[in-house]
């Protein structure tokens, strides 16, 4: 326990959570824009600071977390998240309110996560994934609510087959997962409403 808690939590949990929440809200409201995102948190490795900070801002004991195999392999990461969020860590991605993905290239198919119901579309999983880079004017063309005409973005690495899965996810609307991508100092989002095309 002591070892797991050697990494401390946020210095000012309320202010930091609110700042994170604001960045995330802006990114989700305007897909394709890149938010500057530099959380101060120092979570235990291999949990990236950006993912850790968002998890602490969003998860609580009623919002279970799923960790990808790379994160789940670390007891220290599990203990840290459990302590600071109070959230249960679940093995089934479909039972998760938030999914934390450190190894984006090996993220499971989107359909494996909770997709919500027509009555409660909000009960789907929000996936928070770490990527190496997010660039404007990349090979992905985005359209949909929050985007005036189209927007361009580049995510590296991009997982094989993800573009097709996002299209299938879009077709489920109002159900479907939302995808949040965190690179060092940057954050962008691909909510379920966004149409994604490779150009």
């Amino acid at each position: 326990m002591s070892a797991a808690l050697a990494s401390s939590g946020p210095a000012d949990p309320v202010i930091e959570a609110q700042a994170d929440f604001r960045s995330l809200m802006n990114a989700l409201a305007r897909p394709g824009t890149i938010e500057a995102f530099a959380p101060k948190l120092l979570p235990p490795a291999p949990l990236p600071a950006g993912i850790g900070s968002l998890a602490l801002a969003l998860a609580d004991h009623e919002a279970p977390l799923w960790l990808d195999p790379q994160l789940a392999a670390s007891d220290e990461v599990s203990a840290y998240l459990r302590f600071h969020t109070g959230a249960k860590i679940v093995a089934d991605p479909a039972a998760a309110t938030f999914a934390l993905v450190a190894d984006f290239a090996r993220m499971p198919p989107l359909a494996n996560f909770a997709l919500g119901t027509d009555e409660y579309p909000d009960r789907s999983t929000t996936i928070i994934a770490a990527v190496d880079a997010i660039e404007a004017d990349g090979p992905l063309e985005l359209a949909g609510p929050g985007i005036a005409t189209t927007a361009r973005i580049g995510i590296a690495p991009w997982r094989d087959g993800l573009t097709a899965e996002l299209a299938a996810n879009r077709a489920l609307f109002p159900r479907g997962v939302d995808l949040v991508l965190v690179a060092p100092r940057r954050l962008a989002a691909l909510p379920r409403t966004t149409r994604v095309r490779e150009v």
């Binding site: 326990m1 609580d60 004991h61 009623e62 459990r82 109070g86 249960k88």
Partner: protein, 368 residues
């Protein structure tokens, strides 16, 4: 025509300042402290905690002060406050068999193991105004005798042997529904019904319980046991993995025992209604147990014939914060709605008058 209404800010500010002034009352009278309310108007505090659905005597006392003694307003304040706090989790179920008893009575079993104790009760008082309280008379100390510290099993556990009384079965694998997290769906399970009743309005439940006694969904109730006292609340934090005692919580529990004629599957036996309420509130706990049993009508294959047995009716209307919100919203500006209605009524009157005129002239013609 849509008319936007704006303004009144100065009037509102002044009204609130006037409210604060009236709340304070005359300056030659000492200001009441929340601690006085907490300790001397304890039953008002208990009601605010029960229906505010938040156990915090200090906070409830402050809310009563702020609400000038309007308990439903105080309950509203407490409900609003709780929405500002994060929830850490859920406690282990309170074990009422291990209560530090302050009152325990049974109307069905004279010689309970552990005995019947009256505790601090209004029962057997003559309901005569005591003018000594106005004069501030000195009180004698309460009598003391050797406390036996006997076990006080719940009455319903004693009747168990012959199968004469229905057994409640714990099912700890089942999810526990929470109406503060998910909207109520009907039919609602008993866990959700009990949660709604525990935070429901005492007056509403009292009237419904009374209605069952007067024949609107009769359940032939007996008070198996009422107990009041402190129980320890325990919570298992994720990071510790063992039960942490949070402190003691005062609750009133009522076990109502009801006659049941049996059905094709179940032999005649006694069934049960249950009441559990924060603080000392026998009236609420008893009403809750009567309504709980009435709401189990379908479970026992009985017909739903009375309001107290209709769960949608009971659960949709027992919350006094919801009720007061919807009733009191009527005083907010409805100028546009009313303008529309005015126009409609004028038009209908004109049509009505034209119709009458037409009928009159037809009759006239016919007569001529």
């Amino acid at each position: 025509m849509y008319v936007a209404v704006k303004g009144g800010e100065a009037a509102i500010d002044n009204a609130h300042a006037l409210l604060a002034h009236e709340r304070r009352g005359p300056e030659d009278v000492a200001e009441i402290a929340p601690r006085q309310i907490e300790t001397q108007l304890k039953l008002a505090v208990d009601r605010v905690m029960a229906e505010g659905s938040l156990y915090d005597p200090k906070l409830a006392a402050l809310a009563i002060k702020q609400a000038r003694g309007d308990l439903i307003e105080a309950i509203f304040l407490v409900r609003a406050y709780r929405t500002t706090l994060p929830r850490f989790g859920a406690s282990e179920p309170l074990d009422t068999a291990r209560m530090a008893i302050e009152r325990r009575i049974s109307a069905t079993f004279k010689d309970l193991p552990g005995g019947q104790v009256l505790g601090p009760t209004f029962d057997y008082t003559h309901r005569l105004i005591d003018f000594l309280l106005e004069a501030g008379a000195e009180l004698p100390l309460p009598a003391e005798v050797e406390a036996a510290h006997e076990a006080t099993p719940r009455v319903t556990d004693l009747l168990d042997d012959e199968g004469l009384i229905e057994r409640d079965v714990p099912d700890d694998m089942a999810d526990v529904g929470d109406l503060t997290r998910a909207p109520l769906d009907f039919p609602a399970d008993r866990d959700l019904r009990l949660q709604a009743l525990a935070r429901g309005d005492e007056g509403f439940l009292l009237a419904l319980g009374y209605s069952t006694q007067r024949g609107y969904g009769r359940t032939h109730p007996f008070v198996g046991e009422i107990r009041f006292g402190a129980v320890t609340a325990e919570y298992v934090p994720e990071e510790l993995g063992f039960a942490v005692p949070l402190g003691s919580v005062a609750v009133t529990e009522c076990q109502m025992v009801n006659q049941f004629h049996g059905s094709a599957d179940v032999p005649p036996q006694f069934t049960r209604g249950y009441g559990l309420v924060f603080g000392q509130s026998e009236r609420k706990a008893m009403s809750m147990s009567l309504v709980d049993r009435a709401l189990r009508t379908r479970e026992f294959g009985e017909d739903v014939v009375a309001p107290a047995q209709d769960e949608e009716f009971v659960l949709s209307h027992c919350d006094n914060v919801q009720a007061t919100g919807f009733v009191e919203h009527l005083k907010l500006p409805h100028y546009v709605d009313f303008q529309a209605e005015l126009g409609l009524v004028r038009k209908m009157r004109a049509e009505h008058a034209a119709r009458r005129q037409g009928t009159d002239s037809e009759l006239k013609e016919a007569a001529e």
